[in-house]
Subunit: 98 residues, 2 copies
């Protein structure tokens, strides 16, 4: 499983609008097992996006989906920066999707 953990910084005051765009675009992505947008309890303009995919290739392919390309276009003006973005591989635990 391919799990992504990313921290986006919204333009000040715009995290809710940015989250809405991201959530609208995330349905029906082949190979996507989880896609969760969360606010940071202590950082008002930050959003955390955690994703689970059956493979890195499925994630890569999703970037060409029309709804994802459209969301990227609409989201870009609301993004101040990408604070971090990492790919991880689960070693174990419970509550994994899929």
């Amino acid at each position: 499983m391919h799990r992504l953990i990313g921290k986006l910084r919204a333009v000040p005051g715009q995290p809710a609008a940015l989250a809405e765009i991201l959530l609208q675009s995330s349905g029906a992505m082949p190979g996507c097992l989880a896609y969760i947008v969360a606010e940071d309890v202590e950082d008002a303009d930050a959003l955390w996006i955690t994703e689970a995919w059956d493979s890195a290739a499925s994630h890569q392919a999703s970037l060409q989906l029309p709804q994802v390309r459209d969301a990227i276009t609409r989201a870009r003006p609301l993004i101040a920066g990408f604070d971090s973005h990492v790919a991880t591989r689960p070693l174990g635990g419970f509550g994994l999707p899929g």
Copy 2:
């Protein structure tokens, strides 16, 4: 829901041993909906721990559980540092545990 995203840095060469201790201790924690330990694809000594709890209070209470206290004691010599640790609140998406 209370979701924690943490990045631990293991003593060089010890991430697998550290992950094993963390995974052994994570069963049967009241209020814990997910506990996943993952390796970082690009950072060999880093581990990412993502947790989901029904409340911040449940997480706080877990720190007093015997198996968690024991795990912290055994894990400490294998931890070089805590790179980041944040609390988040999901705004939406799919694949959420519980």
